[in-house]
């Protein structure tokens, strides 16, 4: 007997989300709080959604809020292409289509009971924030927490208010550096790699979670390996063009002997898994 399947159940169907709050964060980044009409997104830290702007198209965007925040989820979108530019013109009350969540999340269960070293460069703080806030909300489950953040200039810093909260907390060590300084900046100046030697790491029981632009990975990983952090305790979130989210369209495939689809096998990987990739 032929299987009785119905097109109404197509995996291409969209959930409807309404923007309930939006805020321009920097010249190029805008933050959105989105409520789905059919319930929670129910994602895990590190996953992404496909955002459909009807008539414009779809783009993969990392969820930047923790699943511990119920009722709505948040996206931080850089105006980089046609779709994201259009999204920047949207605000409270506007509707969009959502597919997902997609992708393999950060291995939060494995991280339990370990020290955590978060390294975020630029917009990498967005996906990492879903995990950082998850850890903050379950702080007792983890050991020492270090957060290292790198931005181009002080005005490019995302989630400023939240970051000031992290700086105040006694259970988190927060350091930040900028590539280019500004008149009122009193913090570190230099690449994010310069912050790593200053962190005390117990390699046996530390997970390093690194999210940033492709160029950053090579140098940060080299620093972490110098600290004897095992390859499988270095977690990355890779960037690729994930068009379908279902491991089919081919765009996000990584040049690696294991034939990874970034959308399905990732976007989070251990360094051990992807070190043979031609590009990270």
């Amino acid at each position: 007997m032929t299987e009785n399947i119905h097109i109404e159940n197509s995996n291409w169907k969209l959930r409807k989300g309404q923007i309930i709050a939006a805020k321009q964060m920097t010249a190029t980044e805008k933050w959105f709080d989105i409520k789905l009409e059919d319930g929670d997104l129910d994602h895990e830290p590190g996953q992404f959604v496909q955002v459909e702007l009807y008539g414009v198209g779809e783009a993969p965007i990392s969820v930047c809020s923790s699943p511990t925040k119920r009722g709505s989820f948040e996206l931080t979108v850089r105006s980089a292409g046609r779709l994201t530019k259009h999204m920047h013109s949207m605000g409270k009350g506007d509707w969009l289509g959502i597919r997902g969540p997609f992708g393999k999340p950060f291995p939060v269960k494995l991280m339990t009971g370990n020290d955590l070293l978060f390294v975020a460069g630029g917009l990498g703080i967005a996906p990492l924030r879903s995990l950082i806030n998850y850890v903050m909300d379950n702080r007792r489950e983890f050991g020492k927490v270090d957060i290292l953040l790198g931005c181009k200039t002080p005005t490019d810093m995302l989630f400023g208010e939240e970051i000031r909260e992290w700086q105040k907390r006694l259970d988190v060590n927060f350091s930040c550096t900028v590539d280019r300084t500004a008149p009122d900046w009193t913090g570190n100046v230099g690449l994010i790699t310069s912050l790593i030697p200053g962190v005390t790491i117990n390699p046996e029981k530390t997970f390093g979670v690194v999210v940033g632009p492709p160029i950053m990975y090579k140098f940060v990983i080299a620093e972490l390996l110098k600290k004897n952090l095992p390859e499988r305790q270095i977690i990355l979130s890779l960037e690729r063009h994930m068009k379908c989210g279902m491991g089919k369209c081919g765009h996000c495939q990584i040049d690696h002997p294991k034939n990874y689809y970034c959308c399905k096998d990732g976007p989070t990987f251990t360094y051990e898994e992807v070190k043979e990739s031609k590009k990270l």
Binding site: T2, S10, N11, W12, V56, P213, K243, K248, H251, N259
Partner: protein, 350 residues
């Protein structure tokens, strides 16, 4: 061969083909290879046998175009209210694809695996159920570009409802499905005689000599050769010739990479979300919004195409996604030759 073995075999006299096609065309749309001149063939709708070329080299586009159309609508949406409305749609009609070579049957089987892997693609799966497949055996090579024996696709390996083999003045038809059985019964086709079965065996036996490994490299050694050949000079040579036109992937029976895009109708209120064929050979295929291109060089993109035929699918689906049809070689404007590329790679990584 015992009578039990012949139970699923029928015959069609060559003179009766027109009646067969006409009867079939009354039931559903029939698509078959049609000569387009200059030794080009294309699957097109037919209503009589005179339009069909039973002796043809692989069509310009494989039957993939019926299973995964070059452009298909996945969603309809309506923006006239405050909240957008959308509906998943399927564009689909009952269809028979007639005279499909064994290489192309293998291609359809590859696509079936890809789209039935979860999360499944319902548009593909539902359309597939509506297509009746009639295969046709090649008794000789179509031309020198084929490499079907290398990948074992010169013999039928299932994937059809009915399968035709030319044994001289008639075709032996193997019935593979209940749907196929119902059709041959409805057409009143006679069962094969024992002489027909002997003739079929003779054709198959003869093919053992006609079809030989086309590159002289053990197919079992290919995954190992590809594993070693990631940084081979071959890819630079191929990349230096390639013009990134995407012809090779368009004509490939197992290339299924796609793009998704929205269309807004002239009323500016309704529109659709559509899937179109894409190509990993295009320059921006692996480019992300931030500008980083993960396969910037043509050499990398050509290597990617070959690995998606001879390495990755072997690990994942236990089969080659090269069907040996030879289309990529025939269509290439830059004369990139699949068999020569494999031979050069094998010579470098013996």
């Amino acid at each position: 061969m015992s009578t039990e073995d012949t139970v699923n075999y029928h015959i069609l006299m060559k003179g009766e083909l027109d009646g067969f096609v006409k009867k079939l065309a009354k039931k559903m749309k029939v698509c078959a290879p049609v000569a387009k001149g200059h030794n080009n063939y294309a699957f097109e709708e037919v209503t009589s046998a005179s339009e069909i070329s039973m002796d043809y080299i692989p069509t310009i586009l494989p039957p993939k175009k019926y299973f995964m159309p070059p452009r298909e609508k996945m969603l309809d949406f309506d923006l006239s209210g405050g909240k957008p409305q959308d509906k998943a749609v399927l564009e689909n009609e009952p269809l028979a694809v007639f005279a499909v070579h064994t290489c192309d049957l293998a291609g359809i089987q590859c696509l079936n695996m890809v789209f039935s892997e979860r999360p499944r693609d319902y548009n593909y799966l539902l359309r597939k159920e509506n297509i009746f497949i009639i295969g046709l055996e090649c008794n000789k090579y179509c031309d020198g570009n084929a490499s079907c024996a290398l990948v074992g696709n010169h013999y039928p390996n299932g994937g059809y409802d009915l399968f035709f083999t030319d044994i001289g003045d008639k075709w032996v038809i193997h019935v593979n499905t209940q749907k196929g059985e119902e059709l041959v019964e409805n057409m009143g086709l006679a069962k094969t005689s024992s002489a027909d079965m002997v003739a079929l065996d003779k054709v198959r036996e003869g093919k053992k000599h006609t079809f030989q490994n086309e590159i002289g490299v053990d197919p079992k050694a290919l995954p190992g050769i590809f594993a070693k050949g990631v940084d081979s000079k071959v890819w630079h040579d191929v990349g230096a010739k390639c013009v990134s036109c995407g012809n090779c992937t368009n004509v490939c029976p197992t290339c299924y990479c796609f793009d998704m895009s929205d269309t807004i109708n002239l009323d500016l209120k309704t529109g659709s979300r559509n899937r179109t064929w894409d190509s990993c050979q295009f320059e921006t295929f692996a480019t992300v919004a931030g500008g980083e291109n993960f396969r910037e060089e043509r050499a990398n993109r050509q290597r990617h195409r070959f690995y998606r035929k001879f390495k990755y699918p072997l690990d994942k689906f236990y089969r080659s996604f090269c069907t040996g049809c030879g289309r990529c070689t025939r269509t290439c404007m830059a004369k990139i030759n699949l068999k020569d590329t494999l031979k050069a790679l094998a010579a470098e990584h013996k």
